[in-house]
C-alpha cells in the first residue's frame, strides 16, 4: 500500500558520458527492453538508450497494444508465445502494473478463403501448443453479443479464430516500466538525444554522434522502427525495409460492452474497448510510403465505416483523436534481428512493422543474449538479416493482411 504514495523519480537525467559499452538508438519498447535484459540478465550496465524525443514517442506510444501468439508459421508461433509468457510475468518482474488484460482475441473471417486461412493458423497453433481454435456464429455471439452477426452486412461474419490468451496491454506502461527498471540497474536513458551520425572505421562502429555530442560505443544497436532504414544508413547499413504510415483512432468512452479484441482482415480494421471505456480502432497500413505522422481523412472514414459494419449501433459515437505511426515493413512481414552484414558491432532489432509491440520482451531478451554472448539464440535464427541474401523468407505475410 505504501508504495502507492512513494514519489520516486521513474528515471533520472544524466550528462552524456564519453563512452558506453552499448549504445542503443531508440527508446521504444525494443530499445529499452534490450537495455533492461542486458543489465538484468547479463550484468552489462554501462549502457545508454538514446531517443530523439520523449520515451516511447515512436510506435511504442502509438500502437493499439494487441498481444497474441496465434501466428501462422512454425517460426513465428513459438517466438510470439515466448513473448506472451514473458509479458505475463513482466508486471511482477518490473514491479509496475502493465495492465495486461488477457481478455481474448478474435480474428474474423467473412469469406471461404479466409476461413481456410484461419484454419491453417488454428491447426498450426494447436500442434505447437497455443490455445486457438476456429469458432462459428453461435459461439461468437456468446463471446461478443454486441456484434452484428446477421446476414445483413455486406460481408457477414462467417467464422472467427478465437485465441483466449490474446489481449491488450497498456503500451506506455511497458515503456515506463522498462525505463524505470533500466534506471534502477544503472542504465542511462537519454530522451531528446538525436543520433545524427555513426563513425565507422574498418567495418566497426567507433562512435555515435548525437545532438548532444559524440560518444564512443563498443556496440551499437538500432531499434528505431519506422526510422530504422534511415538510421541504418548513417552507419552505411542498407535494410530491405520500407516505411508506411499506420493509423489508429480512439472514441469517447462508453460503459464497457466489448471485452474481446476484434480483428477483421477483410474489413481492414481492429477494435477493442479500453478499461476507460474508449474504443480503440486501428486501420491497415496506408498504401503509400511516407514518414508523415499526420492522420488522413480517408483512412479515418474507412476505420469508421468498417467499425459500423461490425457494430452498427455505434453510429452516434464520436471519435476524439486519430494519429499515425511509421511502420518498418519488411518483404516477408517478419522482423530483422541480428548483426548487420556491413558493420560487425552494429546490431539490428527492426522490421517490426505493425506487430512489434507484442514481440518486445522476446525480441529484446534474445537480442540482449546475442549481444552478450555473441551466439544467436535458436528462436530468433529465422529472423536473421542473412535470410534476404539467401532467399529464405518467413511465411507470415500470408497471414498478415491486418497483422497487429
Amino acid at each position: 500500500m505504501m508504495q502507492l504514495f512513494r514519489k520516486q523519480r521513474m528515471w533520472r537525467s544524466h550528462q552524456l558520458k564519453a563512452a558506453y559499452d552499448v549504445v542503443i538508438i531508440g527508446a521504444g519498447v525494443h530499445g529499452l527492453g534490450i537495455a533492461y535484459y542486458l543489465a538484468s540478465r547479463h550484468g552489462i550496465r554501462n549502457v545508454a538508450v538514446l531517443d530523439r524525443g520523449y520515451l516511447g514517442c515512436g510506435n511504442s506510444g502509438r500502437n493499439t497494444a494487441i498481444i497474441r501468439s496465434n501466428y501462422r508459421t512454425p517460426e513465428g508461433i513459438p517466438f510470439y508465445e515466448e513473448s506472451v509468457q514473458l509479458y505475463r510475468q513482466l508486471s511482477r518482474e518490473l514491479d509496475w502494473n502493465l495492465l495486461f488484460s488477457q481478455c481474448g482475441h478474435l480474428t474474423l473471417a467473412h469469406t471461404d478463403s479466409s476461413v481456410a486461412g484461419l484454419r491453417v493458423r488454428a491447426e498450426n497453433n494447436q500442434v505447437l501448443g497455443v490455445d486457438s481454435r476456429v469458432i462459428y456464429r453461435d459461439e461468437i455471439r456468446r463471446l461478443v453479443p454486441a456484434m452484428d452477426l446477421s446476414d445483413g452486412p455486406r460481408f457477414p461474419v462467417m467464422a472467427a479464430l478465437y485465441h483466449p490468451p490474446g489481449g491488450i496491454i497498456r503500451h506506455d506502461a511497458v515503456v515506463w516500466g522498462y525505463a524505470r527498471a533500466c534506471d534502477r540497474l544503472g542504465v542511462e536513458v537519454h530522451p531528446y538525444t538525436e543520433v545524427t551520425g555513426v563513425r565507422v572505421a574498418r567495418r566497426k562502429a567507433a562512435s555515435v554522434i548525437t545532438s548532444r555530442g559524440a560518444i564512443a560505443a563498443g556496440t551499437v544497436v538500432n531499434a528505431t522502427a519506422g526510422w530504422a532504414s534511415m538510421v541504418a544508413k548513417l552507419a552505411g547499413v542498407t535494410l530491405p525495409i520500407v516505411s508506411h504510415p499506420l493509423q489508429a483512432c480512439v472514441t469517447e468512452p462508453l460503459k464497457p460492452f466489448l471485452d474481446k479484441v476484434i480483428v477483421s482482415a477483410t474489413l481492414h480494421v481492429y477494435v477493442n474497448q479500453t478499461d476507460k471505456g474508449e474504443l480503440v480502432i486501428g486501420a491497415e497500413i496506408d498504401p503509400y510510403q511516407s514518414y508523415s505522422l499526420k492522420g488522413t481523412l480517408p483512412t479515418l472514414e474507412q476505420m469508421a465505416s468498417y467499425t459500423l459494419e461490425l457494430f452498427p449501433q455505434l453510429s452516434g459515437l464520436r471519435v476524439l483523436r486519430q494519429w499515425a505511426g511509421i511502420c518498418d515493413m519488411t518483404p516477408d512481414y517478419a522482423p530483422i534481428i541480428g548483426v548487420s552484414r556491413e558493420v560487425e558491432n552494429y546490431y539490428l532489432d527492426v522490421g517490426w512493422g505493425t506487430y512489434g509491440f507484442k514481440a518486445a520482451p522476446a525480441a529484446a531478451k534474445n537480442t540482449a543474449e546475442l549481444i552478450a554472448t555473441g551466439k544467436t539464440p535458436k528462436i530468433i535464427q529465422p529472423f536473421s538479416p542473412a535470410r534476404f541474401y539467401g532467399g529464405q523468407l518467413v511465411g507470415e505475410k500470408a497471414a498478415a493482411a491486418v497483422s497487429s
Binding site: S91, T111, P312
Partner: protein
C-alpha cells in the same frame, strides 16, 4: 430573447420538461431547475453547466438513445427523450459518489503501482470495467445509417462566423471569388450574440454577405480537421429531415481560420461544483435563453473590473455579492451545488460563482495545418507565428482583443486533490504535481501519465492550465514547456458522419436473374455475387447438388457463368513486349488465334495472379485475370508501362463483356447448334481462339479447359448476357445440360490438379515450389521476377505443392495441418470428395523432404489424424486426352 409564445415539451428521466423555441436541452433543463447535469468520470462528483458552448464534458447526456450528447449545444425538440448518464440511481443520489471519499487513496497512476500479480489485476479489472466509461452503448439493432457525404470546392473557406470571419468573408467575396463561410451556430455573429456590450452584430455585414452571389454560408456546421492539401472536414447538423449529419469534404485554395477564443476556468478547490460557471456561459443563459442564472453571484476576475458581466448579472436581477481576484479565492463550498466561497478575507455566501477566465484561442485547426504557435505573454496565449501558405488566421484566434487574465505561469498554484484541471478525467493540481515529481515533467509524458487533455473536451478546458502548472513546477517558461500535438478530429466527429451512407454495392453479372430462377445459392467473391451451386428439385443438400453438377460436366455438358473474370483488352505495336516483361510466359511469339496460360510474379518471384492470354491479331491481345485481382493486374501493367514509351493501350472491358464456360463431352454438340464456326479439333484445336457469332451474338471463343473436359470459354457483349445464357441452356436441353456453380468448378479443377492462385498459393509461393516450373521462361532476356526465379530454379525447394489422395474415407478441411512423424510438415490448401476416385483428394504444401510421390503423410481430421498418399499426376485424365477430343 427566446420566444415565449412557442412552448413544447420533452421527456427527461421520465419527467416532462417544458421548453421554448430557441432552447437547447441544457437551457430548458436549467430553466426547469436542474443544476446537476452529470457525474464526473472517476469520482462521480456532481457536475453542472460550465461552458455552455459544447467545449467541456459537464453536460453529456443520452438523447434519444445516443450516449454522450452535449445537452448545451443540442437544440431541444418536441417529444425527445433525454436521460442522464454515469449516475445510478439518479443524478442527485449517485451510489458511486462514495468513491470521492477515497480519492486520496487514488493518487495519480495508482493502478500502475498496485495489482502487479497477473491474477490480482485480472480480478480487479473486471470490477473496474463495471464502473468505467460514460454513456451506455446503444443495444445491437440500434444506430442509424442516415448520414451523408458531400464534396465541395471553394476559392476561400472561412471558418467561423463571428465579426472577424464575417469581415474576412465579405472582403474575399468582394471580387466575385467563391467563398464558403462555415459557422457552428444557428445564427451568424459569434460572441456578439451573447456579449451584448462588445457591440451589435453587424447586420449590414451579414446582409451584404447574404447578398453576395459568390458567397455561401453553411450554418450549424463545424470544421473538425484541416488535412493535407487544404482538405477541410466539415460536419453539418441536420442538413435536411432525412439526414442526421452530412460530412462535407471541402477543398479550398485558401483557408481563413476565424474560430475565435473560448474561456477556461480557474483552478481552486471545488472549482467543479455545479454553480461555478464561466462568464460566457452565464451570458449565454441570460442573452440567448432569457434565464436568470442564480440569485446571489460572486464574480472572480483579474485585471479590469468586468463591468460587462456585472451589468449583465444585475440586469438579469442577480445580486452581485462581490468581485474578487482569483488569488483571493481558496475554495468553493457546498455539497452538490455551490453555496459559498472561502476567500482569504473570509467566507461569502452565494449560489453562483462566475469565472471571468482566460480566453484561449481555438487554434486546433492551425495546429493541424502545421502552423507554428508561440507564446505571447501579453495576450496570455499561444499565437500563430508561422502558418503554411494559403492558411491564415484572423480575429481572436490570431490574438486580436485577447488579454492575459492571470499570471502565466502562475506565481502560486494551490495543489489540492479537489482542485481540478481536467474535468473529463478528474485530474487535479495535486495529481499533476505528483506526476511531475515522479519524472513525468515533460508536457507529452505528463499528458500520457495523468490522461490530461485526453478526455472528451480534447484539452480545451485543461491544456492551458496544465502547461501553466508544468511550467510553474519545472521552472521553465511557457514557451519551453510548449503544447501537446493537436490531432484531428477536433471537435470530435461521430462514426456515422465519418462513415457516410455506407452503401456497399455488390456486382451482379448480366445473368444474375437467370441464376436466381435456376435456384442459385449465392456466395461473395470480391465485389461479385456468384452462384455457389444451384438448388433443384432433384437435390436437397449442397453436397448432392454439387455432385449432380459435377456429373453433368463429366458425363454430358455443363455451363458456368464466368463473367466475373477480369478482362483486359491490350492493343498496340508493343503489346507483346509488355506482356513478355510482366508475365512469366512468352507472348511475343504466340500466333494469332492461339491462347497461352501464364502467371504473373513480383520481383521476389511470388505468384500474384494467373490467367489466359489470347492473341487476336498481331497487335491485339485479350487477357483474363482472376476475379479478385483485376484492378491490381491492370495497375501493375500500367505501372510497368510507365516510362517505356511503348505503344500499348490497356482497356478494362470486364463490365462490358459477359462470359460463360461450356464444358463436357457434349459441349461441341450444344455449341454447334448455335454457331457456324467449325468446332472440330482440327479446325479449332485445344488452346486456340476464334471470333465467331453464337446465336448471332458476336463472340470470342477460347478453347481451354479449366475443368478438364472439352470446352469453350465464350466472351461476348454483356447486353446479350442473359440472352445467350438462355440460348445455350435451350440448345443444351437435348443433352440434359446443367448450369454449375463455383463449388462444382472447384471440385472439377481439383481433380485435374489445376492450381487456383491465391487459394492454393499464398503470398510466398513461387512457381517452382508450386510445381509449375514450365510457366517461367527463364530464357527470356528479362521479365519481372526473373532474377528471383532463376535463383529459385537452382535452389532446392523447401516445400512443395503436391496432390494427395486419402487412404480411407475421411475428408480433411481446407487448412488442415499435415504431420510427418508427429511434427508439423505442411497444410492442406484444397480438399474435396472426388466422385471420380471414390475418396477425398486434394492439394497440400508439404516440406520438400516429405513430398516424394508415393510418400505417406498424416493429415489432421476431426481432432485425429488420417493417412494420405502423395500423387504426382492429376487425379483425373492425367494425359489430358479429354481436353483434346
Amino acid at each position: 430573447m427566446a420566444d415565449n409564445s412557442d412552448r413544447f415539451t420533452f421527456q427527461f428521466d421520465g419527467r416532462t420538461i417544458e421548453a421554448r423555441s430557441g432552447d437547447t436541452v441544457a437551457s430548458a433543463l436549467y430553466r426547469a431547475g436542474r443544476r446537476i447535469f452529470t457525474r464526473s468520470f472517476k469520482y462521480h462528483r456532481p457536475r453542472g453547466l460550465l461552458c455552455l458552448a459544447g467545449k467541456c464534458p459537464n453536460c453529456m447526456m443520452n438523447v434519444d438513445g445516443t450516449p454522450n450528447v452535449r445537452a448545451c449545444i443540442t437544440p431541444a425538440r418536441e417529444g425527445m427523450t433525454v436521460r442522464h448518464q454515469n449516475a445510478y440511481p439518479s443524478l442527485e443520489n449517485d451510489w458511486l459518489s462514495l468513491v470521492q471519499r477515497f480519492d486520496r487513496l487514488m493518487p495519480v497512476g495508482w493502478y500502475y503501482k498496485t495489482m502487479t500479480h497477473q491474477w490480482s489485476w485480472h480480478a480487479a479489472e473486471s470490477y473496474i470495467r463495471q464502473v468505467a466509461g460514460l454513456g451506455v452503448a446503444p443495444q445491437p439493432g440500434g444506430g442509424s445509417k442516415d448520414y451523408e457525404h458531400a464534396w465541395m470546392h471553394a476559392e476561400v473557406a472561412v471558418i467561423g462566423g463571428g465579426p472577424a470571419g464575417l469581415q474576412a468573408a465579405v472582403e474575399m467575396a468582394h471580387d466575385g471569388s467563391p467563398v464558403v463561410l462555415i459557422d457552428d451556430q444557428p445564427e451568424l455573429g459569434g460572441h456578439l450574440r451573447y456579449q451584448k456590450r462588445a457591440g451589435a452584430v453587424a447586420s449590414a455585414l451579414v446582409d451584404q454577405l447574404r447578398a453576395t452571389p459568390s458567397a455561401q454560408i453553411i450554418s450549424r456546421s463545424y470544421c473538425f480537421g484541416l488535412y493535407e492539401g487544404n482538405l477541410l472536414g466539415v460536419v453539418q447538423a441536420n442538413p435536411h429531415g432525412g439526414a442526421i449529419e452530412r460530412l462535407i469534404h471541402l477543398r479550398a485554395k485558401r483557408v481563413v481560420i476565424a474560430t475565435g477564443a473560448y474561456e477556461v476556468p480557474f483552478t481552486f478547490e471545488n472549482n467543479d461544483l455545479p454553480g461555478v460557471m464561466l462568464s460566457t456561459a452565464v451570458q449565454r443563459l441570460i442573452h440567448l435563453h432569457g434565464i436568470k442564472p442564480g440569485e446571489r453571484a460572486v464574480v472572480v476576475a483579474t485585471g479590469a473590473p468586468p463591468d460587462e458581466v456585472a451589468e449583465d448579472l444585475s440586469q438579469a436581477g442577480v445580486e452581485l455579492v462581490s468581485i474578487l481576484a482569483p488569488s483571493e479565492v481558496i475554495a468553493a463550498t457546498g455539497a452538490t451545488h455551490v453555496t459559498g466561497l472561502r476567500t482569504k478575507s473570509g467566507e461569502l455566501s452565494c449560489d453562483l460563482l462566475v469565472m471571468c477566465g482566460q480566453r484561449v484561442p481555438d487554434a486546433g485547426l492551425l495546429h493541424q495545418a502545421g502552423g507554428k504557435l508561440v507564446w505571447n505573454q501579453d495576450r496570455g496565449a499561444f499565437l500563430p507565428a508561422e502558418l503554411p501558405a494559403n492558411v491564415s488566421a484572423v480575429g481572436e484566434v490570431a490574438g486580436a482583443w485577447l488579454a492575459r487574465a492571470m499570471p502565466l505561469p502562475p506565481e502560486r498554484v494551490s495543489f489540492h486533490k479537489r482542485s481540478f484541471v481536467c474535468f473529463c478525467s478528474d485530474v487535479s493540481t495535486a495529481d499533476l504535481r505528483d506526476a511531475m515529481s515522479e519524472g513525468f515533467d515533460h508536457i507529452e509524458t505528463l499528458k500520457r501519465y495523468t490522461t490530461l487533455t485526453m478526455g472528451p473536451c480534447q484539452g480545451r478546458m485543461c491544456q492551458l492550465a496544465g502547461i501553466a502548472i508544468c511550467a510553474h513546477e519545472t521552472g521553465r517558461t511557457m514557451t519551453e514547456t510548449g503544447v501537446t500535438t493537436a490531432r484531428p478530429p477536433n471537435p470530435s466527429v461521430s462514426l456515422g458522419a465519418l462513415a457516410g451512407p455506407r452503401h456497399h454495392p455488390f456486382r451482379r453479372t448480366p445473368m444474375h436473374d437467370a441464376h436466381d430462377q435456376s435456384g442459385a445459392a449465392w456466395m461473395d467473391m470480391g465485389d461479385w455475387k456468384r452462384p455457389r451451386y444451384y438448388k433443384t428439385a432433384s437435390c436437397q443438400s449442397e453436397q448432392a447438388c454439387v455432385e449432380e453438377e459435377y456429373r453433368a460436366v463429366r458425363e454430358r455438358v455443363g455451363i458456368i457463368d464466368v463473367s466475373t473474370l477480369g478482362k483486359l483488352d491490350v492493343k498496340g505495336r508493343d503489346a507483346g513486349k509488355l506482356l513478355d516483361k510482366v508475365y512469366t510466359n512468352r507472348f511475343s511469339d504466340l500466333k494469332p488465334g492461339r491462347v497461352r496460360y501464364s502467371v504473373l510474379c513480383d520481383e521476389a518471384g511470388i505468384m500474384l495472379d494467373d490467367g489466359t492470354i489470347s492473341r487476336l491479331a498481331d497487335d491485339h491481345y485479350f487477357i483474363t485475370t482472376t476475379t479478385g485481382n483485376l484492378d491490381f493486374v491492370q495497375q501493375w501493367l500500367e505501372w510497368w508501362l510507365v516510362g517505356t514509351g511503348w505503344d500499348v493501350h490497356i482497356t478494362n472491358v470486364t463490365g462490358g463483356r459477359a462470359a460463360v464456360n461450356l464444358a463436357g463431352p457434349q459441349a461441341r454438340d450444344v455449341l454447334h447448334a448455335l454457331t457456324a464456326c467449325d468446332l472440330s479439333s482440327r479446325a479449332f484445336p485445344y488452346m486456340a481462339c476464334r471470333e465467331a457469332d453464337v446465336a448471332e451474338v458476336p463472340a470470342l471463343l477460347l478453347r481451354i479447359g479449366f475443368v478438364g473436359e472439352t470446352g469453350w470459354e465464350i466472351h461476348f457483349p454483356a447486353e446479350y448476357g442473359e440472352f445467350l445464357w438462355l440460348k445455350l441452356l435451350e440448345a443444351g436441353k437435348p443433352f440434359d445440360i446443367r448450369p454449375f456453380g463455383v463449388e462444382a468448378q472447384r471440385l472439377l479443377r481439383l481433380e485435374k490438379r489445376h492450381v487456383i492462385v491465391g487459394v492454393d498459393t499464398d503470398a510466398l509461393s513461387n512457381p517452382y515450389e508450386a510445381g509449375m516450373a514450365w510457366v517461367a521462361k527463364l530464357e527470356k532476356p528479362d521479365f519481372i521476377g526473373r532474377n528471383a526465379l532463376s535463383r529459385q530454379a537452382a535452389a532446392a525447394a523447401e516445400q512443395r505443392l503436391v496432390g494427395f489422395i486419402m487412404n480411407d474415407a475421411s475428408l480433411p478441411q481446407d487448412g488442415a495441418a499435415i504431420l510427418v512423424g508427429g511434427a508439423l510438415a505442411g497444410r492442406v490448401t484444397s480438399a474435396r470428395y472426388s466422385p471420380g476416385n471414390g475418396k477425398a483428394v486434394g492439394l497440400a504444401w508439404v516440406s520438400a523432404k516429405s513430398s516424394a510421390a508415393g510418400a505417406e503423410i498424416e493429415i489432421r481430421v476431426n481432432g485425429g489424424t488420417a493417412r494420405a498418399r502423395i500423387v504426382e499426376e492429376a487425379f483425373y485424365d492425367p494425359a489430358g486426352d479429354r481436353l483434346r477430343m
